[in-house]
């Protein structure tokens, strides 16, 4: 099945329904269109061109040429130390049918992968490398918090996240880390995590 391309604004194309990862598509498109801006979604890629040429056929051609599912670049594994003292630990335990201690151990046992950096600067959407987990049944808060503290570790819809700074948010909070996820003074690599990196959460010893 070939990916679906849709016009998105006047200079962008939304690419969906592909069999590989947004990351691999982004890498291929960056090589083919060095002057374009390429951004990933959880299951989509948006490419924005600097001009108004019609690039549909060219993009389709590049996508059709992607043969390998192999990862082209090496990724790092980042350990994130966590104090598991989040306000929603009990709610997450209830939603999963686990005890609080089991929630904490399961969260550490999962090897997470950064699927997307989005929403806010350095905000990682982490999914289990295995695809699914005991946290799939955990929903977002009905009413989002207006202020989630910096470093808060959250769970929602089978994914985990870390809030890089104080912001509103609807993920259920299970802990907190001291680690700095986003550093505006680091112009080359402001984000600790990049798409494709793997994350392991480790409980801080008490």
């Amino acid at each position: 099945m070939s990916p679906k391309l849709t016009e998105y604004g006047e200079r962008s194309i939304l690419i969906e329904d592909f069999e590989t990862t947004p990351l691999l598509i982004s890498i291929e498109l960056e090589q083919a269109f060095p002057t374009a801006s390429i951004r990933s979604g959880l299951a989509s890629v948006v490419i924005t061109f600097p001009d108004y040429e019609d690039y549909f056929a060219q993009v389709e051609e590049v996508l059709a040429g992607i043969k390998t599912f192999e990862q082209l670049v090496s990724f790092k594994v980042v350990e994130i130390p966590v104090n598991y003292d989040g306000e929603d630990l009990d709610a997450v335990a209830k939603a999963t049918g686990l005890s609080v201690a089991e929630v904490i151990s399961n969260h550490q046992e999962i090897l997470w992968i950064v699927k997307l950096i989005g929403f806010a600067p350095g905000f990682p959407y982490l999914v289990p490398t295995s695809g699914s987990s005991v946290f799939d049944s955990v929903g977002r808060l009905e009413t989002p918090r207006t202020k989630v503290p910096s470093g808060a570790v959250g769970i929602a819809a089978g994914m985990s996240c870390v809030y890089p700074s104080v912001m509103p948010g609807g993920w259920q909070l299970i802990g907190r880390t001291e680690i700095v996820l986003f550093d505006v003074t680091n112009t080359d690599h402001p984000s600790l995590l990049n798409i494709g990196d793997q994350v392991r959460f480790v409980e801080v010893s008490k």
């Binding site: 849709t6 604004g9 006047e10 390429i38 984000s191």
Partner: protein, 298 residues
Amino acid sequence: MTITIVSAGLTIIEDKGRTEYTNLGVPVSGAFDKLSHQLACNLINEPLAPVLEILRGPFQLKSDTELVLAVIGEAKVTVDGYPAPLNSVFVLGVNNNLRVVPNSESPVYLAIKGLVIQRTLGSYSHDTLSQIGPAPLKDGDLFETNEIDKNDPVIGSFISSNLKTSICDLRYLPGPHNFEIRGNWQVRSIARSGIRLSTNHPLKDASSSLASFPVMPGAIQVPPSGLPVILGPDCGTTGGYPVAGVIIEADLHKLARLTPETEINLIPITRQEAASAKAQLSKTIANSVTRPNDMGAW
């Protein structure tokens, strides 16, 4: 060479925006009214300058050296109580008080030649969502300027084109998701993060939530309420609501000039029409500034 902010009002610093880090979740930000911002920059002949975006007055400053500056927008501008011009470059004398009071909720732009601001991630822009960039101005803040040239040819420049457009007609490209949004909507609220619309007939079947995908300023999101939100410069980089269309780049500046209760008209157009609207606007901007030297001997 120190500027003192006597009264900050609600004022932030903006440039063209921070486009290089959207893949790391950093909003684009940049001036809300990009047309006025560009004109202000062109007047002082610093196309990439950091410019003050005055969202609420009264704004007042003074400086211990002369300043070369320009104010664009709907505002009352005075120097020590005497009327000063809009849309043109003038010199503010030592210790004279420049006062800018916006006439409406639309932002007003103050460009100061040689204003020194630190860049954050390559841009001078303040982002109201993540607070990245220079902090909003406070009473008593001090800023530095580079030394000015008293014979600077920009002094006396003015905007000579008529750039009046109907702010209520907003052209958009439909898609990527299918909702019929053409026609009249009422503006409910305006913020740099987005413009909320209202109607007696909300869109139906708007409840679907999608895997988060990249969004951009001008994208018309359809949340479950069926009342669209047009994203502004400080919108998050990704969103999970369907996008019914994207306001064309040539009309984005109009969003900043809307006021609550305004009736807007969403007009679908084609990509070719969007491209020619952009080209036409760029041409108008390029020809909009008249320098004193241009007027020649007559």
